[in-house]
């Protein structure tokens, strides 16, 4: 039975820059996928694009593409599917085309998948009655309309299939469901449709895509039993080898670090999942309780039995809106009763600001080393020799948050004995872009596929 090998070399924007090269060099891939867009990455890209219309995509992708050039010449079978396009897939594609041409790879056909960006017609959609209610609170989007910076539909695998049909070797998308980067190539290669007859195979490719979309999280990263022998310093990135009937294996390049076993796969199967019987994607709703895992040893786990049912008639929409400013700063408090001193130092910092006329919409004091990363859960009552005091605030006024960042340094001389660690200067102020998940009727959205001339 025919099989294709899809490797994912990037799990988010900021992931290891060298992983794609190692994966392509050693992975014997048919497809390389690169996933760059976390929930809020789009809003950051939207603001970048506002400042510079030629930006708004994951520029890391160009560095990765550059590093892949020698391998792309050798591996003439390899295709790349990535959501690096972000808020500007066309700009990303043009930059990629220039880079490929610069390296004498003029014959690479590049396709762009768009149609996910709702911002240009957001008012029109709202007027037509697409109210984009918040999925958790039920509030209509009009509550924050003026502050919205990005609104993107998670498109599915169909436009990726269409792009590949048109002969693309590089597919650059905006927002698509992460799993679609895998489902698209599988559906194209095996000629699957998107009807009921194909739901189980689409479900299988969805599970495969879900397992590899976070990169090394299925190959030893975050594994409860990882240790020195797991060799995470050279962790291999994941490969899904998918057969025509939807059976697949998860593995990694021979000789790489990390590990693939039943534990790494089962931990990742449920990562960021709510109801395992209903994993929603644009193309199929998958039952994760249907799959059977079989550990073959030697970093190979076979997965079979995936089942799926018809998708809903809505797309998920990821919306971000401006929501003030925040900053978080740290100091180190050393010595006896460091925990108590740190807690009091945090209160003193905020009290000084209050006396200067600054109070905040939200503020929070943490003592790291005292169990505060999961507050109230770890056993209390021991005395660490040193702790990290972390204070964070959030407020609509940038100047209030700026003022907050100047209140850390004074504690080094006017705080308690053993106060230190003011080593990196004032903490940066960042704009808060809050997340607004919603649904929209599929009929209101038209995915577009365009080949770059």
């Amino acid at each position: 039975m025919r099989r294709i090998r899809i490797g994912n070399g990037c799990g988010f924007w900021g992931d290891n820059l060298d992983a794609p090269v190692r994966l392509v060099r050693d992975g014997q891939l048919d497809y390389l996928t690169l996933e760059y867009l976390a929930e809020l990455t789009m809003s950051i890209l939207a603001i970048q694009k506002q400042k510079n219309p030629t930006l708004g995509y994951a520029t890391d992708f160009l560095d990765v593409l550059r590093s892949l050039m020698p391998l792309l010449r050798q591996q003439t079978q390899l295709k790349i599917v990535t959501n690096a396009g972000g808020m500007n897939p066309l700009g990303c594609a043009r930059a990629a085309r220039d880079l490929l041409r610069h390296h004498q790879l003029d014959d690479w056909r590049i396709a762009v998948v768009q149609g996910d960006d709702l911002m240009p017609r957001l008012n029109e959609l709202l007027e037509e009655g697409h109210l984009l209610h918040h999925l958790d609170t039920g509030e209509p989007l009009t509550a924050v309309r003026e502050r919205v910076v990005s609104a993107n539909v998670y498109l599915g695998a169909k436009p990726i299939v269409e792009a590949l049909k048109q002969g693309a070797r590089l597919v650059i998308t905006g927002r698509v469901a992460d799993v679609s980067l895998t489902v698209g190539p599988a559906a194209y290669e095996f000629g699957w449709g998107f009807g009921a007859a194909d739901f189980d195979r689409l479900a299988a490719a969805t599970v495969a895509g879900h397992l590899i979309e976070c990169g090394a999280q299925v190959t030893g990263g975050l594994w409860i039993h990882a240790d020195e022998q797991t060799r995470l310093e050279e962790v291999g990135y994941p490969i899904a080898e998918i057969a025509e009937d939807g059976t697949f294996v998860i593995t990694k390049p021979a000789g790489s670090g990390g590990i693939v076993n039943e534990e790494t796969v089962s931990e990742q199967l449920l990562y960021e999942v709510a109801d395992p019987r209903a994993y929603y994607t644009p193309d199929v709703v998958v039952d994760f309780t249907s799959v059977q895992l079989e550990d073959q040893g030697s970093n190979v786990v076979t997965i079979r039995g995936a089942s799926g049912v018809t998708a809903t008639d809505t797309y998920k929409v990821s919306i971000a809106y401006r929501d003030g400013y925040m900053a978080a700063g740290t100091l180190v408090i050393v010595g006896p009763q460091a925990v108590s001193k740190a807690q009091l130092s945090g209160r003193i910092l905020l009290e000084r600001l209050r006396q200067a006329g600054w109070t905040y919409q939200r503020s929070y004091v943490e003592v790291l080393g005292a169990g505060d990363a999961v507050p109230g859960v770890w056993p209390q009552g021991y005395e660490p020799p040193e702790v990290v005091l972390r204070v964070a605030v959030h407020d609509p006024r940038r100047e209030a948050v700026e003022r907050f960042t100047r209140e850390f340094a004074p504690l080094v001389t006017s705080g308690f004995a053993g106060t230190t660690g003011y080593t990196t200067g004032r903490p940066p102020v960042r704009e808060v872009l809050s997340f607004w998940p919603a649904l929209i009727a599929k009929s209101a959205v038209t995915p577009q596929v365009e080949l770059l001339p």
Partner: protein, 155 residues
């Protein structure tokens, strides 16, 4: 107070019979807890209730905790609602994405009744208790190794 009708045996740490992973969905977190054996999964289903998990993480003030059974991987998936202080974009906490919740939950103590044999629940491939290289010698740190901390009486 009436005496319990089952005799507690020794308590076990959840991490002795299960592994776990956690992550975020907006302001909600999920924690997947996966038993090493079928017997362990039976224990999880019986004792690791949504109420028990909600109580364990009460300080995070979950608005709701749901539990889903995933028998094909001997797993329970917990969804903890509204525990991330607004989620990755606006949380003021270090663990804005709930990444630490899994290892925290594995520290939970389960007190098993006498008819349950925890030996059948452990991982078949034993883990080396000294899996990590020794930390750099440091007199202060040595006072505070994990084992010491756990055995210490509250000050």
């Amino acid at each position: 107070m009436t005496a319990p009708d089952i005799t507690p045996t020794r308590p076990i740490r959840l991490g002795e019979i299960a592994h776990a992973r956690s992550g975020d969905k907006g302001n909600h977190a999920n924690i997947a807890v996966l038993a090493y054996t079928d017997e362990g999964y039976a224990i999880l289903r019986r004792f690791l209730t949504a109420e028990r998990v909600a109580q364990y993480f009460a300080s995070l003030q979950p608005s709701k905790v749901e539990r889903y059974e995933v028998p094909n991987v001997r797993g329970l998936n917990f969804v903890l609602y509204d525990v991330l202080d607004g989620g990755a974009s606006r949380s003021l906490r270090s663990d804005s994405q709930g990444k630490a919740l899994a290892v925290a939950l594995l520290q939970m103590t389960l007190t098993l009744p006498s008819d349950v044999n925890p030996e059948r629940c452990r991982r078949s491939a034993p883990t080396n208790p000294e899996r990590f290289p020794p930390s750099v010698p440091n007199p202060v740190r040595r006072e505070n190794t994990k084992a010491n901390i756990e055995s210490q009486e509250p000050v």
